[in-house]
Symmetry: C2
DNA sequence: ACTGATTACGCAGTACGTAATTATA
DNA sequence: TATAATTACGTACTGCGTAATCAGT
């Protein structure tokens, strides 16, 4: 086991920085020559090249390098786990939690949950990382976030463990006095108006598309946002009718009318996810439980 | 990440050697004081004790230590994987393979498979590690073996990946001129004789016990062995009737009679197993395929 | 010319070994 | 008294930084 962990980490950083040794050196707070030397030593020990070179320029990472980088990920995770366990034992009531989530969850679902959490763990720092579901998954993989809360994508990733949180439905949000505020609703009627909803990859957008397509209806979705509030604002301004998560309009609001669309789109499921092999600090485990509790209580009256 | 890998490995060795620092030091080819110092430094860094001490004696590993040891396992696996991948790239046609298996597989199923394997990879060294199924699983976990081939236990272990290999049945092995060589067989008739079969935990022994118990029959199993050959020898000497895997008596043999017992005991399944996160060298992957091929061909005439 | 990788050399810090010290069984 | 862990001290080695060199764009 002469192979040093630091050498492996350097390799990872080089590979993840476009094969630029200088940049990698900066990130590890050492000079280029040091990195160059360590990588040479590693190559010597393995008896194989880590890069395809053109003179002194690195052209391409070998398959070996890529395989090593994967293993380094797992090693670094284990190292972080050790630190996390130690933190738990030192003082399980303080620390930090990084929650990757979407705007909708952060604004409409999480506030009461985090309020309860904060009462139990007043010393834990809570950080939000926002992004689309694809980005959230990446954040988990890269160790930038501890847990993710969102609606799509999470279920299909082998490396993730997920918990069910809550089910929700879409709703129509209309300007006051819009013709759709009256009478029986139908996808046909809705399709005749410009539709304001979430950007692709977000909070159930795919289900909306599909429902209209299945009925052979084409819709005008020239306006989309990641964010229910933005959608509501433009609905108010008369840009069209909004389709948003029902829970993102909890209270009646001046100038807006909400109508349920549960009959037209399938239920969406919000889930909690984290990396399978990651050690969850005790307060994170507790937060996951809180999320499940609050989630299941949403259904009940 | 000041935490050094070597420190963590020392900790693991100490924990796995009854908290004896001196012994751990020997295993790593350093002196006691060095280990003692490194562990102190690790404790300082983590800010927590790794052991409960009574004066200068180590009494007990803390939960923290145990958690660390787990993570170290995963780190060491990753390191070995890196070496394995490198070996593959250097020369994928040579190396070593350590097969953990039982006597029955080693003697009656594996020979033709390994013959085929040897022709493809003449330079690969093949090592057998024999043991009972429980030991085989431990060998996989501890990295002493690359793959295991056996009948029981393998299916329930979360950390293992398994492949189906082949199904087999039990058979009765009798001395010539035994009364059971004639007439219709039944568990009742068999139960009237002393039964020679495998020791507990082996090759379907549990299924034998159960079949008799389900019929309310008690059997005399005062003699048992891990090994079909031993059983056969004693059957020949008139110690009783043998129940063995049918495939461990492929050819007629002077003084012995074989009768099928497929109707009385459920089929047993032989499986191939290896650690989920382990990198399999290409020739190991090939061997697994060979095992599956030969296994599936057993059924066909 | 300039960016970026490799090689050469002196220096500092880390970790080992020897040995003395302390504590338990 | 014997075994085993901790502490003290001198030494060797590993790996950094500075700087010079070399190779592409």
């Amino acid at each position: 086991m002469l192979m040093k962990l630091f050498q492996l980490q350097l390799l990872k950083t080089v590979v993840n920085n476009g094969l630029n040794i200088s940049r990698a050196a900066d990130q590890h707070f050492v000079v280029q020559s040091a990195v160059s030397r360590q990588l040479s030593l590693l190559e010597d020990e393995l008896g194989l090249p880590l890069f395809e070179r053109k003179g002194k320029r690195l052209i391409k990472a070998t398959d070996l390098s890529l395989a090593i980088v994967q293993q380094v990920d797992s090693i670094e995770l284990a190292m972080e786990n050790i630190r996390a366990v130690a933190d738990d034992f030192r003082d399980g009531r303080q620390g930090e939690i990084r929650i990757a989530t979407t705007h909708m969850q952060a604004k409409y679902f999480l506030p009461p949950v985090l309020n309860a959490f904060r009462q139990r763990y007043p010393k834990v720092k809570v950080n939000f990382l926002q992004g689309n579901p694809g980005q959230l998954v990446r954040m988990l993989h890269d160790g930038e976030a501890d847990i993710a809360v969102c609606t799509e994508e999470l279920a299909n990733d082998e490396a993730l463990l997920t918990h069910h949180c809550y089910d929700w439905n879409h709703a129509l949000i209309l300007p006051e006095a819009h013709e759709l505020t009256e009478g029986e609703l139908s996808l046909e009627r809705i399709a005749q108006h410009p539709i304001l909803t979430y950007v692709l990859g977000f909070t159930g957008r795919s289900k909306i598309e599909k429902a209209f397509a299945d009925m052979g209806l084409s819709i005008d979705t020239s306006f989309s946002a990641t964010d229910s509030d933005v959608i509501k604002s433009y609905v108010k301004l008369g840009f069209g009718v909004g389709i948003i998560a029902k829970i993102s309009h909890p209270n009646p609001e001046e100038g807006l009318v909400l109508r349920d669309l549960a009959d037209f789109f399938p239920e969406s499921v919000t889930r909690i996810a984290y990396m399978k092999n990651k050690h969850l600090k005790n307060y994170i485990t507790d937060l996951v439980e809180l999320l499940e509790d609050f989630g299941s209580r949403l259904k009940a009256p």
